[in-house]
Symmetry: C2
Subunit: 296 residues, 2 copies
């Protein structure tokens, strides 16, 4: 399997760690990043760097992109120097960014015109999971195509799920983000009331983490929130984007999601306050402000 | 310590298991329940049954009550045949029901007039925790009183927290319920959208339970929801009550809790549909109905 040539586009925090795991698994690799300086760790290892997404496609069997949002994916795949212009027989494109099922279907349709197979394969597990190769990867697209690239995905992730047709990978990721977003609301509301009611948040943490209130959010984010550490793991602006896509799909399907809608509105306010580049746990700052708590 | 005579009032699912653990720990015990038949397992063990809460108080050093809501506590403690009429020097009353900080302060004040010490000590951990003696118990009231009864609490729970003054036990419990309620909203919204978007909920469960969306709610309730099992662990009507108390306190303190407010409104609707005696996970039925999903 290792003779599959892999091209990787987008060497941010997540992408660089994922590409490095593909290299370590023994696949021939070529990389591209808009900001050239981020390719340096790869250059040092003798990994070739392409001049454009087009060149990545020309020199690969499978192209993976891990960029921020749908417009970035569109430029990388379909833009003037995009992957589509390097299309050749058997090329498979895997978009591992998070956007929407509608975007995935659009990318699949456009690339399909050039005979290129497309999979949407967003991930969860954060920068830690990317580094350790323990991501959960949710894949939409043809099952045969999924099977062909599975060894590459297994270099990056631990739980690899075929979610169904093109778009279903994104859909499954957005469902995850609904839960992640609302769980943050839960902790922020409890902490805000605790503060005003004079309850020691250390004691609140003990109660939540030992009982029915326990969650990844409590275990991983609440200690940061207690310390006033709002640096990103996962950026508030990115969660806002994901909730927006989730609601666009819900609106199209007439699914009433009042909790998700409320959570998006609060993240809109957080981004408007200039805190979009902070971690999702910065939602607590909004709650403290609404409650007149001055803690930092 | 074991010569402390304990009286236990309220032998429901939780109370009977908790009283039994006190008995097993070796404390002399007397019990009372409004519906006499529920005392039978205690009678069989030779445990005395009182005719009234008043008699329980007369024959005990420490009286524990575990009943449903504040009006029940008021009747048991302050009613015509209540604990207060059996008050004697050194009597301690522990209310382990969940109600509000305001109620706890009221009970403490009224009992204080008769020289009775009061602790509010609500629990989390459900019927399983009650049987296994692994409850989390959150105690409000004087520290010296807390220390005196701690051996009794340790017979029922694993994590025993002194939360502060009278009322703070209830407050800490209500904060827990905020998180429990909103976490349920999160799972119900994701499942409703999954259903309409054609995503396999088994796959959604895999994603949530292996990543940042993981929670007690996902682990314990989501499998029930997937099977259409809405029998109570914890009743929807009780969660509704707890959220109402949480919001009353938030309103008094001017703490803005839009997620808790929304969750209460949805549980109001669930109770209005006649589903208050179902488990809290029946919230999914409301979401499916709003989305036009017919699954059961």
């Amino acid at each position: 399997m290792k003779e599959i040539k892999v091209g990787f586009i987008g060497l941010g925090i997540m992408g660089s760690a994922m590409a490095m795991n593909i290299y370590k698994a023994g696949f021939p690799l070529i990389v591209y990043n808009r900001t050239r300086s981020k390719t340096e760790p790869f250059v040092k290892l003798g990994i070739p760097v392409a001049e454009s997404p087009r060149e990545v496609a020309e020199r690969s069997d499978v192209v993976i992109d891990m960029v921020t949002d749908a417009p970035d994916v569109e430029e990388v795949l379909l833009g003037p120097n995009g992957v589509v212009h390097g299309a050749h027989t058997g090329l498979i494109v895997i978009d591992m960014s998070t956007n929407s099922p509608e975007h995935a279907k659009y990318f699949a349709r456009e690339l399909g015109k050039y005979g290129v197979e497309f999979l949407d394969a967003p991930v969860t597990g954060g920068d830690v999971g990317a580094r350790q190769g323990t991501l959960t990867i949710m894949v939409g697209g043809k099952y045969e195509t999924f099977e062909r690239v599975k060894p590459i995905l297994e270099a990056m992730g631990k739980t690899i799920i075929h979610a169904g047709d093109v778009g279903n990978g994104q859909m499954l990721k957005l469902l995850n983000q609904i839960v992640v977003g609302i769980d943050m609301l839960a902790v922020a509301e409890a902490m805000a009331l605790a503060k005003k009611a004079g309850i020691d948040v250390e004691k609140l943490f003990t109660v939540l983490s030992t009982g029915a209130g326990n969650s990844f959010t409590v275990q991983y984010y609440m200690p940061k929130m207690m310390k006033g550490d709002f640096e990103p793991g996962f950026r508030a602006a990115h969660l806002k984007k994901d909730l927006r896509y989730a609601l666009e799909t819900a609106n199209r399907l007439n699914v009433s999601l009042p909790g998700t809608a409320l959570t998006l509105q609060l993240y809109n306010a957080l981004v408007a306050k200039g805190l979009g580049e902070k971690g999702t746990q910065a939602l607590l700052k909004l709650y403290y402000e609404l409650a007149g708590v001055n803690d930092w």
